[in-house]
């Protein structure tokens, strides 16, 4: 192998550590807080079936530096494993599958600690739960029903998220089972959506600022007039509009008229034939001149009644305080950031400070409510700050509330399939889910057996050609995994694990079905 040696000695290490350098590309997605959550996590994989998809999932968690992982498995490595599992080689034949996989996975990242638990007749699976605590549990299907009951019981007691995965032939699905309600503060909303300027409800400091920079606006010098921040231009014109019309612009038509009204104030008797700051103001009218309204997701958080255990968590204590704030002010705490705009830098800094200090004031008010709560004494200020900043984008995923029954879902899905061809819509992937689900506890089954199992829930199954076809495909795979499908599925599952562990971004709710024949996914709430 060619050795490439640079003739330059590497510079002495300053600044970021090797670890920060290694994780640089992902820190740009979930930041140090997300990385810390990953490093504090301990993931359990209960591996069964042909055993590839779970290991591929772990690979994608070991690489970004999950703290710890454990594989529990009762299988011995066979020749068939080698063809699909990258983390097993010839030397592993006849050995414990969990031990072999842990050893090879651990080579990927020395920061990660891997453990194995080979269970069997003389070493029951129960032993695993006696002294270890897990952040999240992955299990692969098909699985022995006794083992499943065991981990479901553990997850339920300890409020640990569960993720099941089933990959066979060209098909796969995975399902998240979140314990109770799962709230997310850092949802990473689209940055353009986060601008909240409160132009229709300015507070006194903001109004005073706008008045001072638009004072005697007609007679301002070209330089001053061309540097009024667009926020102030809009506030000035809103005040004039209100005195002329008796109300602020609210309908689309009024806003369009208001936009023309602002545009008409642009000075055009200059070399450029216009002013950049006025252009910015005109462009911002429709986006910023709107009264704040609560998103459905935030309403859901406000309406949710946390149970006793939940209500002492910092999320629900802060959420309650924000709700109090909202009912008092009819607005959420101000996020406090100001977009870039044409302005003199001293004026811009002044404007930034007005928003920042209002945001700080709002945080203090929320904090005060938090502190009054018996469980709110020790909640860090930064947590309240982050919550206030993201208040408009918080999201709650209900783990517990029961979804529609599978029969109802099937009725709806197959009904839309009937018109799918006409509407050029894709067909439902529910048949794939049903067929895989029918083999949850058996290594393989014939297509008629699969259809018979489905018929127990959906009586018309055998007359649905798409269910029959999916069942045939699952039967054909004989419980075997295709490495490529399992690798792809492992990528999607690991992504969901990262979302859940870091409590950043919004995890899927709750089942994702993948069809490798058409390269399609569908998310169902089952």
């Amino acid at each position: 192998m060619t050795e490439i040696v640079t003739d330059q000695t590497p510079p002495v290490l300053h600044g970021p550590s090797d670890k920060e350098k290694k994780y640089d590309r992902q820190l740009r997605l979930w930041a140090a807080s997300g990385q810390k959550a990953l490093e504090d996590a301990h993931i359990l994989l209960l591996n069964s079936g042909s055993g590839t998809v779970g290991v591929e999932t772990l690979k994608n968690l070991v690489l970004p530096g999950i703290g710890k992982f454990t594989i529990a498995d009762d299988s011995i490595v066979t020749e068939a494993d080698l063809g699909v599992n990258f983390f097993l080689d010839e030397d592993c034949l006849g050995m414990s599958r969990s031990e072999s996989c842990v050893r090879l996975l651990q080579e990927l990242n020395s920061d990660v600690e891997g453990q194995h638990y080979q269970f069997g007749r003389d070493r029951p699976l129960e032993g695993l739960f006696s002294d270890a605590t897990f952040t999240l549990i992955l299990y692969t299907l098909p699985i022995d029903s006794n083992n499943l009951t065991l981990i479901q019981k553990y997850a339920n007691e300890k409020k640990v998220p569960l993720l099941s995965i089933h990959s066979a032939g060209f098909y796969s699905y995975f399902q998240t089972h979140l314990p109770g309600s799962f709230p997310i503060v850092d949802t990473h909303p689209d940055s353009t959506a986060t601008t909240d300027l409160r132009l229709l409800t300015p507070w006194p400091e903001l109004s005073e600022f706008a008045q001072s920079v638009t004072k005697d606006i007609e007679n301002q010098s070209a330089h001053d007039h061309g540097h009024i921040p667009y926020l102030a231009i809009l506030l000035h014109h809103l005040a004039r509009w209100q005195s002329e019309h008796g109300a602020l612009p609210s309908t689309y038509k009024e806003k369009t008229a208001f936009r023309n009204f602002v545009s008409a104030s642009t000075r055009t008797d200059n070399a450029e034939g216009g002013e950049e700051n006025f252009e910015e103001a005109v462009a911002a009218v429709l986006k910023t001149i709107s009264s704040p309204h609560l998103s459905g997701a935030v309403k859901e958080v406000f309406d949710y009644k946390p149970d006793e255990v939940e209500s002492v968590s910092s999320f629900w204590i802060i959420a309650e305080a924000i709700k109090t704030f909202y009912s008092k002010h009819n607005a959420l705490p101000l996020p406090g950031s100001v977009p870039d705009m044409k302005a003199q830098s001293t004026i811009y800094v002044q404007l930034q400070n007005i928003y920042k200090s209002k945001a700080r004031q709002d945080v203090l008010e929320v904090l005060e409510t938090v502190r009054v709560h018996p469980g709110g004494k020790d909640i860090p200020v930064t947590e309240v700050e982050i919550f206030c900043k993201n208040a408009a984008f918080i999201k709650l995923i209900h783990g517990k509330t029961s979804p529609a029954s599978i029969v109802e879902i099937a009725d709806k899905e197959f009904e839309s399939d009937d018109i799918a061809a006409l509407a050029m819509m894709p067909l439902s992937l529910l048949p794939i889910y049903l067929s895989l689900n029918a083999t949850s506890h058996v290594p393989s089954a014939s297509s008629s057996e699969i259809v018979a199992t489905i018929s127990k829930i959906i009586p018309s199954a055998s007359s649905n050609p798409r269910i029959v076809k999916a069942a045939e495909e699952v039967a054909r795979a004989k419980g075997g995994e295709l490495h490529n499908i399992s690798s792809l599925t492992g990528g999607m599952v690991a992504q969901e694990v990262i979302k859940i562990v870091t409590q950043q971004y919004i995890p899927i709710d709750n089942t994702c079905v993948f069809d490798g024949i058409t390269s399609r996914t569908q998310v169902l709430r089952v």
Partner: protein, 639 residues
């Protein structure tokens, strides 16, 4: 006869024998062994592909290890292609693997070589190489599976000449450049100061000062002529200061030159500051007075995520300058007298250059009243860093292999163009039918042909008169241009006609383009791939092979198709253009423009998302602007 082993069992079962046999007999090329490449190689080996060639010119870096799982600590600085090959070979010795630690753009990788593959996978990190492979695959008529990722976003598309859209059928975002005056005289954003630090100051002091920076556009217009002349003089004066490198006074000399003297000169041009905030010069001695109470440099350097203060920036400026200077001195001592001057250029992973660019850019920002940035942010902005993670690569590589099964069967119509949309929680992936080729695409709408040429005697005249006019029926008005876009022949440029191709610098494997300049019903551009050949002296020295049949033979008849009228078509993602190694920087200007677009009908974000989703099927003809991430350009990449 294809032999199946026990290992093949699982894919044999599920793929079905015919596809499995096709995979086993296939000879595929994988360009790029980075994030997608590592995953792809693993999946190809485990999906039963018989022969895989790997090309990558990169070496392994520490920051690759969070996702490029075939590599370990001990592989740092070794060839990606070679290490990847070793790793995959150890896993399955029965697969034939070949690795090239070279640039895919090298002329040795010619059309004939590309033709030897069943299909090509692009797992690249830059626009130029992607364009090149796209062009070569079209010329060789070999199917290409193109892929890329940026953070949680990703994309896969199948490119088959004449059947599906090529990489360039939709325009690509080009790397952002800035006018020289913005960078040198009137910066208004942090990025202007970062480009100044990286492409001007660092290169004037430690590089070859004449080197052209790709990010600074110095094409002049008359208005700026005077200012540009002044800037030239400024650079000259800077060169003199460079002579003081290594002396005690060097940091002060440099600092006062660029943050005081040059700023004062700018200030003297009052016109410039009528509508702008005038800059405020900084004086080294004065700033240093306060710098005494600072924390030690090492401690400041550890603070990666916070924007440093003025004094801290000066301390890092001085410190990094000393580090770079002493490196330069030792490079000079060790270099031979007859070799070129050693240089240091910006590298985001070279801590010394990054510290210097961070401090010098921030100081300039302070002079011009612009917000300063943390080193973490500046690294991203200066280094065009694209976030990358294992999960996205795993998904994209898996999708590539799924498309390859369709390609093996020649079933292009059921291939998919897939976008990863992790923030649409209702789908995760969105799959579209492949787009058809854009009839106006400058790359794939052309006619392609192989040209056998006897280089010992063929002249340009043989091509123009005997071949193009007599055989192909070209009229008076057309042009022949070489691979560097220089015109060899047109109606006014006839003096090359008697020259041999060898005298015109044309060699085998070069491309010539024939552009029909006739007014009436012109032909599409014709791209000729030169192949050296010994042709019998009795025959003409230039001969064409495999000409495409005329698809629309309007008179006068011609084997080269006529240009079509443009037809609007789209699968809803054309405006996305998520590709290339462009700059990851989007200025607030473009942010404003995007907002304007989104305001036209007051579309709210959720509505936009659903619009994109519903557009995933069928071709409504709508062009959707996917600007959900409006101020983060969607650039698909992975290094």
């Amino acid at each position: 006869m294809v032999q199946f082993t026990k290992r093949d069992q699982s894919y044999h079962k599920s793929l079905g024998s015919p596809t499995n046999a096709l995979a086993k007999e296939a000879r595929v090329l994988m360009v790029g062994a980075g994030g997608i490449g590592c995953e792809l190689l693993k999946n190809l080996v485990l999906s039963g592909f018989g022969e895989i060639h790997i090309v990558d010119l990169d070496t392994i870096d520490l920051s690759n290890l969070n996702r490029q799982f075939l590599f370990r600590y001990e592989h740092i600085k070794k060839s990606k292609a070679l290490v990847a090959k070793e790793a995959a070979h150890a896993f399955n010795p029965s697969v034939k693997l070949e690795a090239h630690h070279s640039n895919i753009i090298d002329p040795g990788f010619n059309v004939a070589w590309f033709k030897s593959f069943t299909m090509v996978f692009n797992a690249l990190d830059n626009l130029d190489a992607r364009r090149h492979v796209n062009k070569m695959c079209l010329a060789a008529d070999v199917p290409l599976i193109e892929s890329g990722t940026t953070g949680f976003n990703g994309q896969v598309q199948v490119i088959k000449k004449g059947v599906t859209a090529c990489y360039e059928c939709s325009p690509k975002e080009l790397p952002k450049t800035f006018p020289v005056c913005t960078i040198r005289s009137t910066p208004s954003q942090a990025i202007h100061c970062i480009v100044w630090g990286k492409s001007y100051l660092l290169s004037e002091i430690f590089g070859t000062s004449e080197e052209e920076s790709a990010q600074i556009d110095s094409s002049e217009d008359l208005e700026n002529e005077k200012e540009i002349e002044k800037l030239r003089q400024e650079s000259q004066a800077l060169k003199k200061i460079r002579g003081a490198m290594g002396t005690q006074s060097f940091p002060q000399l440099l600092f006062d030159k660029v943050y005081q003297d040059d700023v004062n000169r700018l200030l003297s041009m009052e016109d410039m500051w009528k509508t702008r905030r005038p800059p405020q010069p900084l004086k080294f001695a004065k700033v240093m007075e306060k710098a005494a109470e600072l924390a030690p440099v090492d401690q400041i350097l550890k603070d990666d995520q916070r924007a440093w203060t003025l004094e801290e920036n000066v301390a890092i400026f001085t410190d990094s300058l000393a580090r770079l200077s002493s490196r330069m001195q030792s490079m000079k001592t060790s270099s031979k007298s007859d070799s070129a001057e050693p240089t240091i250029t910006f590298d985001k992973d070279d801590q010394d250059t990054l510290d210097f660019v961070t401090a010098s850019a921030n100081l300039r920002s302070l002079v011009f009243g612009i917000d300063t940035k943390s080193r973490f942010d500046i690294k991203q902005m200066a280094g065009n860093i694209i976030p990358a993670i294992a999960t996205t690569n795993a998904i994209v590589a898996g999708l590539c292999v799924l498309q390859s099964f369709k390609v093996l069967k020649g079933d292009f119509s059921s291939s998919k163009e897939v976008f990863l949309s992790p923030f649409a929680p209702q789908r995760l992936l969105s799959s579209d039918k492949p787009r058809t080729p854009n009839p106006d695409c400058p790359v794939c709408s052309v006619a392609q042909a192989l040209l056998l040429v006897d280089m010992s005697r063929a002249t340009l005249g043989d091509l123009v008169e005997d071949f193009l006019r007599l055989e192909l029926g070209y009229g008076e008005e057309f042009a022949v241009v070489n691979h560097q876009s220089q015109t060899l022949y047109d109606v006014e440029e006839t003096h090359n006609l008697t020259k041999k191709f060898s005298d015109l610098g044309i060699k085998g494997d070069n491309f010539l383009k024939v552009i029909d300049e006739g007014d009436e019903n012109p032909r599409v551009d014709l791209v000729l791939n030169f192949q050296e050949s010994s042709i019998s002296p009795d025959d003409k020295p230039v001969r064409g092979v495999n000409f495409p049949p005329a698809s629309n033979s309007e008179p006068p008849s011609s084997p080269i198709a006529r240009r079509r009228k443009p037809v609007e078509q789209s699968n809803g993602h054309t405006a996305d253009a998520p590709n290339g190694n462009g700059s990851a920087l989007v200025t607030s200007d473009s942010g404003i423009k995007k907002r304007q677009i989104s305001e036209i009908d007051e579309v709210e974000i959720p509505a936009k998302r659903s619009k994109v989703q519903s557009n995933g099927y069928g071709n409504s003809g709508d062009t959707i602007v996917l600007d959900d991430t409006a101020d983060v350009a969607i650039l698909i990449d992975d290094d």
